[in-house]
C-alpha cells in the first residue's frame, strides 16, 4: 500500500487525509506499519469508496488482517444510520453470509488425543462432508428449510443437534430475528437442500487445536481455557443458500442503487437505503441466511461430537463461542457522544463486544466476548477477548483471520498440495482433504503472519489476546 497517503495516529491506527475537493466520511486503517505496507493498494481504494456511501456513521475502517475483496475490502467495517439515509450493501456482507467460527472447548489435553489423532482425523473426514460437490445426510423438505430460515441454531437443537444450554454461547442466542423466508428465492432454497451440515471448500475447515500459550490468565479462566487443552474450531457459513442470496441481491441492488439515485463509486458496492423496500428485502433474506449459518455450525458441532463419542467416549465438547464475520447487524453505538442505532457491516471482521455488554452471557461479562482469529492450517489461531475500547474505535469489531498475503493463483504456482500435506505431517499437523488444489491454495505461506495480526489487533485496542492455538489436525474442504 502507498503509505504516503496515510497519516499515522498511533502505533496501529492510521487515517487517510482528504484530497483537495474530496467529500467523504473519514477512513481509518488499523494495523502495524509492516502489515499495512504489505497490503494491496486496492484495500485503500475499496475502503475509501465505502466512505462515499450515504448515511455512514463515524469512519469506514479496515482491520489489521484486511485484504482486497469485492465491494468492501475483506476486513472492512462500516456502520450506517437508517435515519440519515444509510444504506445496506450486499457487497458489504459478501456471498458467504454469516461465515464464522464455532469454537468448542474440550475436557481433553494433548496427551489424551495424541495416540488417537490419526483415527480422529480420519473419522472426522468421513463424518463431516467437506469440499465442492459434497452433500450432507440431512435433506430438508421445503417446510423444514423455512423453519431453519427463521429458527437458526435453535431449530437444530430442537431437532437433536446439540443442547439448548450451549445456545447461550452462540451470537443472537442461535436465532437471528428479522428473517423473512419469503425474501429468499426458490433457487437459493433448492441449493441448500443437500447442504445442511456441510463444511464447504476454500478457506473453510474443521481443526483440532491445542492451547499452546496463555496470554491473559484471568480471561482464559473465564473462557475455561488452560495450556495443553484441546479445542476444536469449525469455520464455515451459510453454504449454497447464502451464496445464492448474495448472487440474487448483488445485481438487483446494483440496479436499485442507480434507480434510487445513489452514486456508487464502484458498482460492486451494490446497495439500497436500509429503509427502502429493496433494502428491507435484502435485510430479511440476509437474516434468514444468518440463521442457516448458525444452524449449519450447530449441526457440524454435533457431527464432531458423534466422532469423539465413538473414539474418546470420555470427551466433552462444550461451545466456547460461535461468532460470525460476514454480517450486517443492527446495534446501538455511540458516535460523537450520541447513542445511535446503526447497521454495522462487518465483512471479514468479527464482532467483539467488550466486558459488561448486555448481549454477552453472564460467564463472559467480566472478560468480554471471545473473538477468534482463525489462522492458516500450518501456523495457528488466536482466542482474544473484546474490549471496551473497541466500542469507540471500531464499533466493537476485530480481525477475523490471518488474511491472505498472496493470491490463490500465485500459491498454486509455488506449492504442490501433496508435498505440503507431507511437510505439515512431518511437523505434527495432519491434513485431510479431497482437494490437493485447495491445500496448495491454502498453504500457510500464502497468509499474513497471524502473530503479527493478533498483536496488531491488541495494540490497536480492538481485542486483547487470551490464548494461542496450534493446529494438530485439519479437515479442509
Amino acid at each position: 500500500m502507498d503509505m504516503s497517503r496515510l497519516q499515522q495516529i498511533d502505533a496501529c491506527s492510521w487515517s487517510v487525509p482528504l484530497r483537495a475537493g474530496e467529500k467523504r466520511a473519514p477512513v481509518l486503517l488499523y494495523g502495524s506499519q509492516s502489515l499495512l505496507a504489505s497490503m494491496d493498494d486496492k484495500v485503500l481504494e475499496q475502503i475509501t469508496n465505502v466512505a462515499f456511501l450515504p448515511g455512514l456513521a463515524g469512519s469506514a475502517m479496515t482491520m489489521p488482517d484486511a485484504h482486497w475483496g469485492y465491494g468492501f475490502p475483506i476486513g472492512g467495517v462500516a456502520a450506517f444510520d437508517p435515519e440519515q439515509g444509510g444504506i445496506i450493501s450486499a457487497g458489504g456482507v459478501g456471498f458467504d453470509i454469516s461465515c464464522g467460527i464455532r469454537c468448542l472447548r474440550t475436557n481433553l489435553d494433548l496427551e489424551n488425543i495424541t495416540p488417537h489423532l490419526e483415527k480422529l482425523a480420519d473419522a472426522l473426514f468421513r463424518n463431516i462432508p467437506a469440499g465442492v460437490g459434497e452433500e450432507g445426510k440431512l435433506k430438508l423438505t421445503p417446510a423444514q428449510l423455512n423453519d431453519v430460515l427463521t429458527g437458526g441454531a435453535q431449530w437444530a437443537v430442537e431437532h437433536g443437534y446439540g443442547h439448548a444450554g450451549e445456545l447461550e454461547y452462540v451470537e443472537e442466542r442461535g436465532h437471528m430475528k428479522g428473517a423473512v423466508p419469503g425474501n429468499v428465492s426458490e433457487v437459493a432454497k433448492k441449493r441448500q437442500r443437500g447442504e445442511m451440515g456441510t463444511l464447504g471448500s476454500g478457506n473453510h475447515y474443521l481443526e483440532i487445536q491445542v492451547v499452546e500459550k496463555i496470554f491473559d490468565p484471568d480471561a482464559a479462566r473465564d473462557f475455561g481455557l488452560h495450556q495443553g487443552q484441546i479445542l476444536i474450531s469449525i469455520h464455515c457459513g451459510s453454504r449454497g443458500l447464502g451464496h445464492q442470496i448474495g448472487t440474487d441481491y448483488l445485481v438487483s441492488l446494483a440496479k436499485a442503487a442507480g434507480r434510487l439515485g445513489i452514486h456508487l463509486p464502484d458498482r460492486e458496492l451494490a446497495c439500497a437505503p436500509i429503509n427502502s423496500p429493496e433494502g428491507q428485502e435484502y435485510l430479511g433474506a440476509m437474516n434468514a441466511a444468518i440463521n442457516v449459518a448458525l444452524a449449519n455450525r450447530q449441526i457440524l458441532a454435533h457431527l464432531t461430537r458423534e466422532v469423539f463419542d465413538e473414539i474418546l467416549p470420555q470427551a466433552s465438547l462444550e461451545t466456547l463461542f460461535d461468532v460470525s464475520h460476514n454480517t450486517c447487524k443492527l446495534e446501538k453505538h455511540a458516535v460523537d457522544g450520541k447513542e445511535r442505532l446503526l447497521y454495522v457491516h462487518r465483512k471479514g471482521a468479527t464482532r467483539a463486544f467488550g466486558p459488561g455488554h448486555p448481549a454477552l452471557p453472564a460467564r463472559y461479562q467480566k472478560a468480554g466476548q471471545p473473538v477468534i482469529i482463525g489462522g492458516s492450517m500450518g501456523t495457528g489461531s488466536y482466542v482474544l477477548a473484546g474490549t471496551k475500547e473497541s466500542e469507540n474505535r471500531a464499533f466493537s469489531s476485530a480481525s477475523h483471520g490471518a488474511g491472505r498475503a498472496m493470491s490463490r493463483t500465485q500459491a498454486l504456482k509455488r506449492w504442490q498440495g501433496k508435498e505440503l500435506i507431507r511437510e505439515l505431517a512431518s511437523k505434527g499437523i495432519l491434513i485431510r482433504t479431497q482437494s490437493m488444489r485447495g491445500a496448495a491454495e491454502e498453504a500457510p505461506g500464502a497468509y499474513k503472519d497471524v502473530d503479527e495480526v493478533a498483536a496488531a489487533t491488541e495494540q490497536a485496542g480492538l481485542a486483547k489476546r487470551v490464548a494461542f492455538l496450534r493446529p494438530k489436525a485439519c479437515i479442509k474442504g
Partner: protein, 135 residues
C-alpha cells in the same frame, strides 16, 4: 474460445476469450468450472438449457456465470461444456456435464461471480470477458 486467470488477493479472476462475445462468455464459464474440477474428467452426460434477459452485457456475464453455478448445484452436476446465444438483451444458454463422482479430483468451490474487475470488450479484435469469482 480460450480461458485464463488473473490475480486477486482473496479470490480468483476468470477470463474468457473468443471470436464473439458469446464465445468469450463460454470461455469465462469454462475458466470458472475448471477451478472446481479438471474439465477433462467431465463427460457431457447431461444437458440443460435456460434463458435470461439482461440488456447490460457486463451484468449479463455475471448473470450467466451465476445461473450456471445455481443450475449445476441444483442438479448436482459439474459442468464442462457451454453454449450461449444472444438476440439483443435475450440470452439462451446451455451446458453439458455429469454428476459428481468419487473419482473426480476436487478443486475449490466457487460461491459466485462478482462485479469486481468486471469487464466485457474487444481487445485487438478478440472478445474478452472477465470478472472475479468468489471462492
Amino acid at each position: 474460445m480460450s480461458f485464463d486467470y488473473f490475480e486477486h488477493d482473496a479470490d480468483i479472476g476468470v477470463i474468457g476469450r473468443g471470436a464473439t462475445l458469446e464465445d468469450a462468455f463460454e470461455g469465462a464459464a469454462a475458466a470458472m468450472f475448471a477451478i472446481m474440477v479438471d474439465a477433462a474428467q467431465v463427460k457431457p452426460l447431461v444437458q440443460f438449457a435456460f434463458s435470461f434477459a439482461e440488456g447490460d452485457v457486463e451484468l449479463a456475464l455475471v448473470t450467466w456465470l451465476n445461473r450456471l453455478l445455481a443450475e449445476a448445484r441444483q442438479r448436482d452436476l459439474v459442468l464442462g461444456r457451454f453454449s450461449l446465444m444472444r438476440t439483443d438483451g435475450q440470452w439462451q444458454g446451455a451446458a453439458w456435464g455429469a454428476p459428481w463422482d468419487a473419482n473426480m479430483e476436487r478443486g475449490t468451490e466457487v460461491k459466485g461471480a462478482t462485479l469486481t474487475m468486471l469487464r466485457v470488450g474487444q481487445i485487438d479484435g478478440v472478445w474478452e470477458a472477465r470478472c472475479v469469482v468468489d471462492v
